[in-house]
Every structure is written in structure tokens, then in C-alpha cells.
Amino acid sequence: MQPMTEFDPAPLIPRNARILDSRRVTAKERHFRLALEAPLGHRPGQFVMLSLPGVGEAPISISCGPGDEREVELVIRACGSLTHALHQRQAGDVVGLRGPFGNGFDLQDFEQRDTVIVAGGLGLAPLRSLIEPLAARPRRYGHVTLISGCRTPADELYRDKLRAWAQLPHVDVIRLVNDTAHQPWDGEVGLVTAPIPRLDLEIPNTLAVLCGPPVMYKFVIMALAARGMQNEQIYVDLERRMRCGIGKCGHCQINQVYCCRSGPVFRFDEVATLPEALT
């Protein structure tokens, strides 16, 4: 071991986290529950840097609401080197974890407000961390409208949760697919923008939150603006390539702003003038 010096390397060094369970939720996504050595103390919308030592590291959103602090839930899509390898890990295996990083949502902003949440595909994973606390405290927070869209019925995440939330009196859930692909489907068919015009909203007292694939943001924001929503009422949760999570590696820059540090959650008026925000 090298002698320690006056500077603390901890932000780049992972901690152990043990997989409690890992189950397949769609063809490409698995849900993981990890046990932590110390409480994470995260806010909704924050992310961790998850790693398999010797394989690699990637930013992954925290999917559970702030609650049981010694466990964390993640949804991971197999799309590259690390994520494929993670899918082969099982309960009992240990992974590395840094964080939480990013700003996340400030729940105070949502007090006594109605919220429209628009989730595209895997975007539901981070947004669940916000939905859970909002749905749990109806008297503190207002009405929640969740629009959740995905490609086909087989791609839907958290079906049981969506159903459970829909049972709550202060939560409306609209589920959509782009294409039923000849599978049974009890929701709507169309893009996530489709329901926005018909929502019954008290616009001045409503906030909107978006997370999904890069192409989605522009169109949803246009639909919300058409309903009279101001940029200050809209929150976007943005994804960029990230290597460090602490504003050093340069990959996540949106113009001059570091997505990992000032985001990934932005109030849209903060980034509306950044040409790279929605491209």
C-alpha cells in the first residue's frame, strides 16, 4: 500500500455493494437490489457509479425513493460491455459503487403542487425515485399524473408498480406503447406526447418532469408549452456519457455545464438557452 498523502482519493474509489437479488424485467433490462456497507442518503433523481472491478464502470440512476438507506434498487439495460457483464451476476456477488452523485430533485419544490411525470422507456427507472415519495405523501404533495411510454408491451418496466400507483386516488397513470407488436395490451397506443393535450391540469400550480430517450424531450416540451407551461415549471432529467461523475472527465458537458454536477436534473429554464441541451 502506498503511503497516504494529504489529499483524499475517496471520490474515485468504489465501495463494495452486494447483490441481494437480480431479476429479469424485460428482454434487455434487469432489476437489481444491492446491500450497501453504509447508508446512501440519496435524493430522488441522483445516480451512482456502478462498477465491476476489472470490467468497467457506468452511471446508473437510483430507482428507489429515499427510504431504506442500506439498500438501493437499480434497473440496468444490457447495451454494452459493463452492462452485459452485470446481467450475468447473481445474488451474493459483489459490485463496486460510488456516489450518490448529481443534484437530484428537491422534494420541497413539489410541495402543494400537482405533477405531470413523463417517462419514456428506461426513463421510468430514475423517475420512480421521485414518484414513490410523491405518491406516498398525498397531503404534502399534490396530484400526480404519470405518462409512461415504451416501445412494445414487452418493454414495459415496473408493470406491477404502475398498476399499484394507478389504484391510488391522487395518482393517474397513462400507459402507452408505440406498437403493440401483436402482444396483449391494456393501455393506449401512441407516443407520450399524445395524452398531454387532454390532461385536466391546473397549469399554474403544476410541475412537469421528463426523462427518456434523447429524441423525446423536444416534443414533450413543445406539447407542455402548448398547454401554457413555462420553462420554470418543467424539469428534465438528462443523460450524457460520464466517466467520473464528479465534474472532471469532461464527457458529460452540455455547453459549459457539467451534467453530472449541475444535473442530471435541470429546471428547463436553466438549460433552455444551451444549444446542446436537447440535441
Binding site: M1, Q2, P3, M4, T5, E6, F7, D8, P9, A10, P11, L12, I13, P14, R15, N16, R18, S51, L52, P53, G54, V55, G56, E57, R77, C79, G80, T83, G92, D93, V94, G96, P213, P214, V215, E239, R240, R241, R243, C244, I246, G247, K248, C249, G250, H251, Q253, I254, N255, Q256, R261, P275, E276, T279
Partner: protein
């Protein structure tokens, strides 16, 4: 602070003595037309060769030094930590910090300013322990420029020619072939204390009279003052200038990798073959000109074209980072990117073109 006069031989002897105790680096000939900061070893001959056209006024010529000296503080590839299995099926992570005592000699003012900027970048926000540890154990000996290093240099225009901050010792060649040795920090003082140099007075005047012989203008000059150039870069988003300068771009990232103020990195993991279950993570220099730099899973690329990437690089140097840190331009005018680019794409020309375009009254309207 103390100042001395020393001849070249005395300086060489002094550095050799330092090399007995520390790692000492200075620019040495590499290849046919370049220099590199190389470690002085016991066996290696002390060579202060110069390029044919090198001005004799510099003791440690660093012209065309492909890799900037700052890379000794933030290596192109650097171990972050090693790991080994713990008793519990998990890992023990062992940070790799490098507290080796180093002395870098022959740093030009532009590179000195770059190191100063990197100090700020790495100390800000979440401090970077790996960089800062190296930095804390490194002594900097800078060397004044009385001639532009090469045809690509524009350090005066970029505002870094007279930079001295960060150096422990600062050398200025004198007309009589001696070197003015100025100690700028206590560490520099200690280093020179028993060097056997002859003390001198009025160092300020000596330095200024040497600098008075600099050619005018010194290196390339922008067509507008630096502040205007920076403002033009800041204000320009859509412009044909971006496209004009990338027609021949290979997206090879050379301009990033040789830049003394580029510090972006990528991560790499490795497993040991010899020790099952053990391995390491390191980081290596990355660059925003490389096509995959801003590509995310699923294949979306936030800067898919060379023009978009070039714009980002130029804006980072002349607009984004200068806004975040109040030390002026992050392009220090060393000229490396233009020199090393195989197709002569030069940030100097790009910035100049942008300034010219924003001067033109109609530019902003359409």
C-alpha cells in the same frame, strides 16, 4: 526573495546534483525535430542540444516539445487504484497516489500558466487527489522566453508570455550568456541555497532589460485584442467558420492530446493475469475531438459532426473555462495543436476568423 546569476555549466551541475535525490525532468531531443521532457538518469548523457534554428538565449529549449510538461502531473495513463479480493467475496480497493519528489526544469511561461490553470481545475469542486498529490511533490523551474519558440507560437497574443506564477525558480537568459536565477517560493529558495550561484541584485531590472530585446511583435498576433476574440468565440454558435476549419479534420484528437490545458479522461479496467481476482483501474487522456467522446448507450451522439466537436473544443479554451475560472484564456498560445495537427487546423486561425466574422456588421443578423 533571493536572486542569483549562474552560467550554463553551473546550472547543469546543479541539476545533476538534484537528480541524485529526485526525479529530474527536462526537455531533451527526441526524434528528428522534437523535444520531450525526459527523466535525467545516471547513465544518460546530459544533452542540451538545440534545434538548428534555436535561439541560443534559452538554456532549456522546449520548442516543439510534443507532450506538455503538465503531463508529468497528469500522465497520459495513470493508475487510480488497484483491487484485490477481500475475505468476504468483495474487494479491497487500494488507491494509487504518487508522492514521488519531482523537479521539472525548462518549463516555458505558456506551459507554466497551463499548469497554474490545471492546479485550479483540479482543486475546484471535488478535488482530484491524484493530481494534487503529484503537484504537491513537484518543483517547477521555468525559463523565460526571449524568442518565439516556433512559427506556431502566439503566447503573447493569448496573454501568457509574462506568466510567472507557480514557478519555484524562474530563469532569464542574460546578454552575457549567464542566467538570471530568481527564487519565487520558499521551495525555490531552499533549492538554490547551496547551489553556489553568485548572488545578484536588481533582478527586476535585469529581467526587464533582457525582455526588452524581445522581437516586436512576439509571435503571431490576433487581428483583434484577446478580449474581443474571446467574446466572439463566446457569442458565436452557428457559423460557417466551424465548417470551414474541419473539412480536412481526421477527428484524430491530436489537438486535444497535446494541449497543456486539455484534461478530459477515459477510464480503463484491467485484470491481472498473474493474480486471479486482482486488477486495477486507470484513466487515460481523452479528447473531445474523438468521435465517440459524447456518444451514449443506444448510439446517440451529442456531438456527431467534426464541426460540432471543433466548436466545443474552441469554446472550452476561449469561452467556457475562462468563464468558470477567472484567469483569462485557457488557450495559452503554445501553438501545439496547430503544429501537431497533420492538416494544419489551427485554433489561432479559427479564433481569428470568428473575431473577424463577428466584427462584420451583418454577421449576427442572418
Amino acid at each position: 526573495m533571493t536572486s542569483f546569476l549562474a552560467n550554463e555549466q553551473a546550472l547543469e551541475d546543479w541539476l545533476r546534483r538534484q537528480a541524485e535525490r529526485h526525479e529530474v525532468y527536462w526537455p531533451q531531443r527526441m526524434g528528428k525535430a522534437s523535444y520531450a521532457f525526459q527523466r535525467l538518469r545516471r547513465r544518460s548523457p546530459l544533452r542540451l542540444d538545440r534545434l538548428d534554428d534555436a535561439p541560443a538565449s534559452k538554456p532549456f529549449r522546449a520548442s516543439a516539445c510534443v507532450v506538455p510538461p503538465g503531463r508529468l502531473l497528469a500522465p497520459m495513463q495513470e493508475l487510480l487504484y488497484r483491487f484485490e479480493p477481500d475475505d468476504d467475496g468483495g474487494y479491497r480497493f487500494i488507491p494509487c497516489l504518487d508522492p514521488t519528489e519531482r523537479l521539472i526544469a525548462g518549463i516555458r511561461p505558456c506551459d507554466l500558466k497551463a499548469i497554474h490553470l490545471m492546479d485550479a481545475v483540479n482543486a475546484e469542486g471535488v478535488p482530484d487527489a491524484h493530481y494534487l498529490t503529484r503537484r504537491a511533490h513537484t518543483t517547477l523551474i521555468a525559463s523565460n522566453c526571449l524568442q518565439p519558440c516556433d512559427a506556431h507560437c502566439f503566447c503573447e497574443a493569448a496573454g501568457s508570455l509574462d506568466w510567472r506564477e507557480g514557478a519555484d525558480v524562474f530563469l532569464t537568459p542574460q546578454a552575457d550568456g549567464q542566467q538570471l536565477v530568481e527564487c519565487l517560493t520558499p521551495r525555490g529558495e531552499a533549492l538554490c541555497a547551496d547551489a553556489g550561484f553568485s548572488p545578484c541584485d536588481a533582478p527586476e531590472e535585469r529581467r526587464q532589460s533582457a525582455e526588452a530585446h524581445r522581437p516586436q511583435p512576439f509571435g503571431r498576433q490576433f487581428d483583434a485584442p484577446l478580449v474581443k476574440v474571446m467574446a466572439a468565440v463566446d457569442e458565436t454558435w452557428d457559423s460557417p467558420v466551424w465548417d470551414k476549419h474541419v473539412e480536412r479534420c481526421f477527428s484524430c484528437g491530436t489537438c486535444n492530446l497535446v494541449c497543456p490545458t486539455c484534461y478530459c479522461f477515459d477510464m480503463r479496467d484491467d485484470l491481472d493475469i498473474e493474480h486471479p481476482g486482482c486488477g486495477s483501474r486507470s484513466r487515460c487522456a481523452d479528447g473531445c475531438m474523438l468521435p465517440e467522446f459524447a456518444e451514449v448507450a443506444g448510439g446517440h451522439n451529442f456531438r456527431a459532426t467534426p464541426a460540432a466537436r471543433q466548436r466545443h473544443r474552441v469554446k472550452r479554451k476561449l469561452a467556457y473555462l475562462p468563464t468558470q475560472f477567472a484567469d483569462g484564456s485557457f488557450c495559452v498560445g503554445c501553438g501545439r495543436c496547430g503544429h501537431q495537427c497533420t492538416v494544419d487546423i489551427d485554433i489561432f486561425d479559427i479564433a481569428n476568423d470568428l473575431a473577424a466574422a463577428s466584427e462584420a456588421p451583418h454577421a449576427a443578423d442572418d
